[in-house]
Symmetry: C2
Subunit: 144 residues, 2 copies
DNA sequence: ATACCTGCAAATGTTTTGCGACTAA
DNA sequence: TTAGTCGCAAAACATTTGCAGGTAT
């Protein structure tokens, strides 16, 4: 999905909720949408601050929440304590392989898993909303 | 696995690391091993305190860490921020279905998944150590 | 004009750590 | 005797919130 298209999605989202198009939201959105890495709030804060050193943490967190609601961002709990935010394109769902040593993340897609999950949920009387599937191990660089 | 057997595992673990068999560790371990629910540190603290009101949070956390290292406990990140600790028996690996409304957790086992995960890891040059697979949805009580 | 937003600082909630006193081996 | 432990309070950490002043519509 193109950058401009995503901008429009966020823009409509803001308008539909009767929120405002502020300078700060634009800046944070721009940086976030141009990034493919899984960012922590702190990393995003650092990058955005290079352009606008007066921005605060609160605005970063508040905007990340909006981006998630708009469907452009997904929250990941991968490493223990901190949350990472992943730029979500309108592509197939994927999961993550995480190196416990250096933190490297590799994405993978197993389409068959979706149906299996549905089946498991249904068998237990659940309506499935989403899932987290993370494999932890050592990447090739870290096994040496 | 029987309670006595697990006690022995912890006991050897303590001895091998040249640690001490303290009264507090015994008490925390006893409560933890007798519980099947996924406990938060706070819940464990509350239960242990009924028997020994002088125990502190730090000791709870420190002992949970030891139980995990000894392989008797697994840390779960299921609900957003807090960690829950699951009493791990030497049984087959299982995963969790979590109700996002009431927090209910159901365990399930899909043995075939293990081989699939190994394959994914290998293909990406990773040595698999463990994984987390959590399905989120609404349980039958909460869909009403 | 009037919501909505912002940055700041303070608050929050969970987990960790430093410390002086205590205790198992 | 000497590491290891304990409970406490303080620190750390990521995230959230209250507020007074600023801004988009």
């Amino acid at each position: 999905m193109a950058f401009e298209e995503e901008r429009k999605i966020f823009s409509s989202f803001i308008r539909n909720k009767n929120l405002r198009h502020s300078e700060q939201r634009q800046q944070i959105m721009d940086v976030f949408l141009k990034t493919e890495r899984h960012l922590s709030a702190e990393e995003l804060y650092d990058i955005v601050r290079e352009k606008n050193p007066s921005i605060g943490y609160a605005t970063i967190y508040r905007t990340l929440k909006l981006l998630s609601e708009a469907g452009l961002c997904r929250e990941l709990q991968a490493d223990g304590r901190i949350t990472r935010y992943e730029h979500l394109h309108n592509r197939d769902h994927h999961d993550h392989l995480v190196c416990t040593e250096c933190g490297k993340m590799v994405e993978f897609e197993i389409p068959e898993i979706e149906a299996l999950q549905e089946k498991i949920a249904r068998k237990n009387g659940f309506v499935l909303k989403n899932h987290r599937w993370e494999l932890y191990g050592l990447c090739s660089d870290c096994t040496r």
